[in-house]
């Protein structure tokens, strides 16, 4: 294994992010090749966490762009601070400067509200991690625009001119697959698929993130969640839910899993009434080992 890949694994582990070889390799390549990384997978498996952990590990800033339906291109880059500009105009009404000078002043950086994409490009201290979260919730228009930015990391603000990145950000995109992303975007990015973890991996994650839980309980918790995932639920619990449950058990000082404790805390990993009923049915039928 390449030294750098091992380093990344260690780096992530220092942030209590249990990765596997696939994740570390993809991250390494993304950084080495300078390409964005597209991460897909079911909800709650840690897609966003990768970016966060990476930023912490690299001691870089993380800039997050949360996508939503109707996200506008300009909103993602910048906005002029209109009220401030107006105030300045009023204040300068009787000043001696020429119109051109006044204009240059109100369209300068102090009056510019930077939104995530511009922030990511203009970081002066080093390359930040740009997380574009849930890109599938935006529309195709936004995707096309994003592609342009991801190619040359340059934006143009009409009043100021082109702004080029001093330090190219590391770009991570996540998608929940609620819509088909364009081929152009897929080609532009490296691809990583993160699935629900295996028993061993999930156990490692629980012990790393909730150290107070103890060996026996962490094993029981992981075993239960793995069994729950095999039931055909409407909202299958992800790793985030496992960790919530583990933390809840620690807070409640539980020492082992029994029916009472599970009944109290089932809301941590089951978020749908039909799922809850199905789970209870399976438990009473004795199929879940309790």
């Amino acid at each position: 294994m390449r030294e750098e890949v091992r380093n990344i694994q260690d780096l992530l582990r220092s942030q209590a992010y249990v990765s596997d070889v696939a994740v570390a390799t993809s991250l390494y390549l993304a950084m080495a090749l300078g390409k964005p990384l597209l991460i897909e997978g079911p909800a709650g498996v840690g897609k966003t966490e990768i970016a966060k952990s990476l930023a912490e590990a690299l001691d870089a800033r993380m800039v997050r762009l949360q996508c939503y339906e109707g996200l506008d291109a300009t909103t993602a880059i910048y906005e002029w601070n209109y009220p401030k500009q107006l105030l300045r105009i009023k204040m300068q009404e009787h000043a001696a400067a020429s119109a051109a000078e006044k204009e240059a002043e109100i369209f300068s950086e102090p009056f510019l509200l930077k939104r995530p994409l511009l922030e990511a490009i203009t970081d002066q201290t080093g390359s930040p991690v740009l997380l574009i979260d849930e890109i599938d919730r935006s529309d195709e228009e936004f995707e096309a625009f994003l592609l342009e930015i991801l190619s040359d990391f340059q934006v143009t603000i009409p009043e100021i001119g082109p702004i080029k990145a001093t330090h190219r950000p590391y770009v991570v995109l996540t998608s929940n697959r609620s819509r088909e992303l364009s081929d152009a975007l897929r080609r532009r990015c490296l691809y990583l698929w993160i699935d629900y973890p295996s028993f061993e991996k999930e156990l490692e994650i629980v012990r790393a993130k909730v150290p107070a839980i103890g060996e026996a309980l962490s094993t029981e918790v992981t075993r239960m969640i793995q069994a729950v995932r095999k039931l055909n639920l409407a909202k299958t619990p992800g790793v985030a839910e496992t960790l919530d449950w583990a933390s809840a058990l620690v807070v409640l000082n539980a020492s082992q899993l029994d029916e009472a404790v599970i009944a109290e805390t089932a809301g941590c990993f089951l978020k749908d009434e039909a799922d809850l009923r199905k789970f209870e049915a399976e438990m009473s039928a004795g199929r879940l080992g309790i």
């Binding site: 294994m1 696939a22 390799t25 390549l29 209109y82």
Partner: protein, 371 residues
């Protein structure tokens, strides 16, 4: 490497020359003796969706073993419950594929000029009432064209309502005035409004086994024409397993889309597993269906699988969707009774149970598509 990418491209992956360049660059960055690392790196660069993974692995194995790099093939990577991967790998080769049927559909029917009679086919003469199965190959082309035209007409009904928009034809005076308050009464920014766009999603799942292939063809043509009037249109085909065809039908030229569909969709065998396919849809694509979605299933209900599974899958689907429409061509016949187990299991969950056997039924579908 170029050859490798070419092989991948033939199997439908997005591996253009620019990816090949990246792949070559990658080779320089990794430890080539570590087969796992090589595999993972190239997979990250050359695939673009999880469905590509099984194909990539196949091509990778055969390619590198051909080059004699590894004496015996080892299990490459520990698959942590690659849940969707398991479902998508195709164990059956050499069966007549969707590809085959699409290519030869026109040709086969032309050879056999006798109109095909299906049980329950309508007997009236008027074209709108004529069952699709009674048309000859060349006539079916025309039928398909008409279907697309109907769809496009449907598409042009804009909503009467207006909504706020960043740019549009009309200035929204009310919002502009409100916005101007921020800037002391000066109109710095104009707010616009435009006609509200339809936000309904459409998910269509077509049974393409046996005699259903013909009706599915027409429905897919219809849906193709509808693409622009819905916020999102997703299409799937199934027989013993489910395959997503949205990408292929998105093409602007329908001919081109058909050709791509032909080369990319993998094979399927004789019987129909509706329940299994729907269950696969529910678990692999949970986010495609919500309360704003209209789900259409086209099938005759001949399920060779467990009817309880079908019922459960449909219950789940119905609960999450805005409307569940089941189209059954056999309903076109007056004497048809849905006695088949699969159909029986499905009935309680269906909002609209309608036929799809002629052009009249296609037109009738319109009112059900508006939520």
């Amino acid at each position: 490497m170029i050859q490798f990418c070419r092989d991948l491209r033939e199997r439908g992956l997005l591996a253009t020359p620019s990816e090949a360049i990246d792949a070559v660059a990658t080779l320089g960055l990794i430890d080539l003796d570590d087969r796992e690392e090589t595999f993972l790196s190239l997979r990250s660069v050359l695939t673009s969706r999880v469905e590509d993974f099984p194909v990539f692995e196949e091509v990778f194995e055969s390619f590198w073993s051909r080059l004699g790099r590894s004496p015996q093939p080892r299990k490459i990577v520990e698959r942590e419950g690659l849940s969707t991967g398991a479902r998508l790998s195709s164990p059956n080769h050499g069966h007549k594929g969707l590809a085959f049927f699409l290519e030869h559909w026109g040709a086969a029917r032309a050879r056999d000029s006798e109109p095909i009679k299906l049980p329950g086919a309508s007997n009236t003469d008027s074209d709108a009432e004529k069952d699709f199965s009674l048309f000859r190959a060349d006539e079916l082309e025309e039928v398909a064209r008409v279907a697309r035209r109907i769809a496009r007409r449907l598409a042009r009904v804009p909503s009467r309502r207006w909504e706020a928009a960043r740019r549009g034809l009309r200035v929204d005076l009310r919002r502009t005035l409100r916005q101007s308050l921020k800037s002391g009464g000066e109109f710095i920014r104009l707010s616009f409004k435009r006609r509200k766009q339809k936000k309904t999603r459409l998910v269509v799942m077509c049974d393409v086994s046996g005699s259903m292939d013909l009706y599915s063809q027409v429905l897919l043509q219809f849906v193709y024409g509808l693409q622009n009037s819905f916020a999102r249109v997703e299409t799937f085909v199934f027989s013993t397993k489910l395959e997503r065809t949205t990408r292929h039908l998105r093409d602007n030229s329908y001919r081109h889309a058909l050709k791509r569909l032909g080369t990319n969709v993998r094979g399927w065998s004789g019987g129909t597993l509706i329940g299994l396919s729907l269950a696969a849809f529910n678990s692999d694509w949970p986010k495609l269906v919500d309360k704003r979605a209209v789900v259409i299933i086209l099938s005759d209900g001949w399920d060779t699988g467990d009817p309880d599974e079908l019922g459960a899958a449909l219950a789940d689907l119905k609960r999450r969707s805005g409307r569940l429409i089941w189209l059954n061509p056999l309903l076109g016949s007056r004497d048809y009774q849905p006695l088949v187990r699969g159909m029986q299991a499905a009935l309680p969950y269906i909002d609209v149970f309608a036929p799809l056997h002629n052009l009249a039924s296609l037109r009738a579908l319109e009112k059900h598509l508006i939520l």
